[in-house]
């Protein structure tokens, strides 16, 4: 990175900005996608484990809980930039390189897992303990209890947390851009920051805002769809035969639908 500053010489023409940003956006999506898959696969079991090692859990074990809790807290307490630098030897050992997407995925996964484990733990904590008792007395095995009486009941809350986590990972991917991981962050740093190219800077900001807003919207939708008393209204809307596509008339049908739900519940 040259660091050459000029307000005329290096500016990318507006017409070329999409060609610059689209592949970068693709890189970001790939990076975040891979990381979130790993985070989900590791974080859910790890969160369930730490929740059930705690006092009152299925495998209550104070020592194991303390150790695991400390490890996760350490992972959570390092600023991402520091974590990324600190584990370079480990990253190189796993991926054989310390630049590019593979190199970014390792520290991002570690930070994401630590984050998501706490989110899962917190979500499970809000599920009534009585349900675990119900499942146990119905003859469930520990795995069945965790699956049906803990995780399944916490799904909307976990999806809400997953949304937050995904957005945090988009932000981390931008930080990872500084070690040449590619993606939107890399473009923002090399063109916008180093070369004072305000056009590109602005474009990356717009892309990031749209990306984050889209993730949030999808997350909110999913949370609604997986919460029975919220989903009832959504389902009724969907079931309507293809009416006018504008949202106003369908919103008008929503309120009587929710009203009738509450009436039948009373």
């Amino acid at each position: 990175m040259s660091g050459v500053a000029s307000d005329t010489g290096f500016n990318v023409p507006v017409a070329q900005i999409p060609a610059l940003l689209l592949p970068a956006l693709g890189d970001t999506l790939i990076m975040v996608g891979i990381v979130m898959t790993i985070v989900l696969l590791v974080g859910v079991p790890l969160g369930s484990l730490i929740h059930n090692l705690a006092p009152g859990g299925l495998f209550e074990n104070r020592a194991a809980h303390t150790v695991l809790s400390w490890v996760i807290s350490i992972g959570r307490s390092l600023p991402f930039l520091i974590l990324m630098a600190a584990i370079v030897p480990f990253t190189r050992f796993v991926t054989g390189t310390n630049i590019g997407i593979p190199a970014a995925v390792v520290p991002m996964s570690i930070a994401g897992i630590a984050f998501f484990t706490r989110i899962v733990e917190n979500s499970l904590r809000s599920v009534p303990v009585a349900l675990t008792r119900v499942a146990r007395s119905s003859g469930a095995s520990p795995i069945q209890i965790i699956r049906t009486a803990q995780l399944s009941e916490a799904v909307p809350s976990i999806i809400g947390g997953l949304t937050i986590n995904t957005i945090a990972m988009i932000e981390y991917s931008a930080i990872a851009g500084t070690i040449g991981a590619g993606g939107i962050g890399y473009v923002a740093v090399t063109y916008g920051y180093d070369r004072f190219d305000n056009g590109v800077m602005l474009a990356t900001i717009v892309v990031l805002v749209v990306l984050v807003a889209t993730v949030q919207l999808l997350g909110d939708r999913l949370v609604r769809a997986t919460t029975p008393h919220a989903a009832a209204a959504v389902l009724r809307l969907r079931r309507r035969p293809s009416g006018p596509s504008s949202s106003r008339p369908s919103r008008a049908t929503e309120s009587p639908a929710t009203e009738s739900t509450t009436r039948s519940a009373s």
Binding site: P128, A130, L131, R133, V134, A135, R136, S137, S138, G139, A140, S141, Q144, T148, A149, S152, E153, V155, P156, T226, T227, P228, H229, A232, T261, S264, A265, S266
Partner: protein
């Protein structure tokens, strides 16, 4: 049938050791509903946890149909739990599952095929009168309906014992009555032994054949409900049918507390007593009800006669047990004077 034998449960170690259940004995025959009452902190929920095999007793045993279940290993215990159906307080439903899916839970854990499970769930929901609510979520059901789903779920694996842990607590009176009637019906149809843990005395009168009072981890009093009610000096009987306030007595009359005994009492006993003693009898307060064909209850009356011994004899002949109110002071005074 289920038997609890010398059940003892301690929590903690050393100086912090707390004895929650202290050598408890209970026995419930098939087709019997036995209630356990007691103040909060008496050990009711620990008893429930031990009977449903969620907590291991420190010593003593839980025996269902002759099998000692409390000594099994963890894996066998999981299987044994299926022989006892538990009905929880109304918050025990899974919020993201429909009524049918909630009832199907124990079948799912057992690994029953989907078709078989669907058939059994339909049967169970029909049995508790919720066939039309199968696809409703818990938030769409009333408290009473939710509890019916809980009952259907407890019955899913055809247990011979039902443990009801505060199942009617938090329900309105109508819903409580409906749940009580349903449990009695199920007891008759399925030959169930039901252990009904509650703190509601009214519900005990409605449902239980026998009742035990738990206090500080021990059973301090127990017996058949009707027998306890017929005993005027039973504190559990009095707790089940508490005496409430009564009118003040007319001057010159003595006040008597009468209790319906085990023998039938003529309905016109107040008139019969007045005729027999040839005096006036005033009814100051009464609480009388018919439970399982027997009339039970108590009354406070005022009788204008100095012949206290005769009042007692007449009342006894009518099948009523009588105690003169404030009589101890007066008797003491009389004996002083006589001396």
């Amino acid at each position: 049938m289920i038997r609890v034998d010398q059940l003892r449960k301690e929590f903690g170690h050393g100086a912090q050791r707390a004895v929650v259940l202290d050598g408890l004995d209970l026995s419930i025959e098939a087709r019997e509903i036995s209630a356990v009452v007691g103040p909060s902190g008496a050990g009711k929920s620990t008893l429930a946890q031990c009977v449903s095999l969620l907590e291991r007793p420190t010593s003593g045993s839980v025996i269902v149909n002759g099998d000692v279940l409390s000594e099994l290993g963890e894996r066998e215990l999981r299987v044994a739990r299926r022989r006892i159906g538990t009905i929880f307080q109304s918050d025990g439903l899974f919020s993201r599952r429909t009524a049918a899916a909630n009832v199907a839970l124990p079948l799912e854990y057992l690994g029953v095929t989907a078709a078989e499970s669907r058939r059994r769930v339909g049967e169970l929901l029909d049995r508790v009168g919720l066939a039309d609510k199968a696809v409703h979520y818990p938030h769409q059901l009333s408290g009473g309906q939710r509890q019916r789903v809980g009952i259907a779920r407890a019955l899913a694996l055809r247990p011979s014992v039902i443990l009801s842990d505060e199942a009617t607590s938090g329900l309105d009176p109508d819903a409580t009555t409906a749940i009580v009637e349903l449990l009695k019906e199920l007891r008759d149809d399925l030959d169930l032994s039901i252990l009904f843990i509650t703190h509601e005395m009214d519900t005990v009168l409605q449902i239980a054949d026998s009742v035990s009072r738990l206090d500080h981890g021990r059973i301090v009093e127990s017996g058949r409900v009707l027998e306890l009610l017929a005993q005027p000096n039973s504190s559990l009987g009095r707790a089940l049918q508490p005496r409430r306030g009564h009118e003040p007595a007319p001057t010159g009359a003595t006040v008597w507390e009468v209790t319906y005994g085990a023998d039938p009492v003529p309905a016109d006993w107040v008139g019969l007593l007045a005729a027999g003693l040839d005096t006036t009898v005033s009814l100051l307060g009464a609480s009388i009800e018919t439970l399982r064909g027997a009339t039970t209850g108590h009354a406070t009356i005022a009788v204008s006669t100095p012949r206290h011994d005769l009042v007692e004899v007449e009342l006894r002949l009518l099948g009523l047990d009588a105690t003169r109110v404030g009589s101890e002071d007066l008797l003491a005074l009389e004996s002083e004077v006589a001396r």
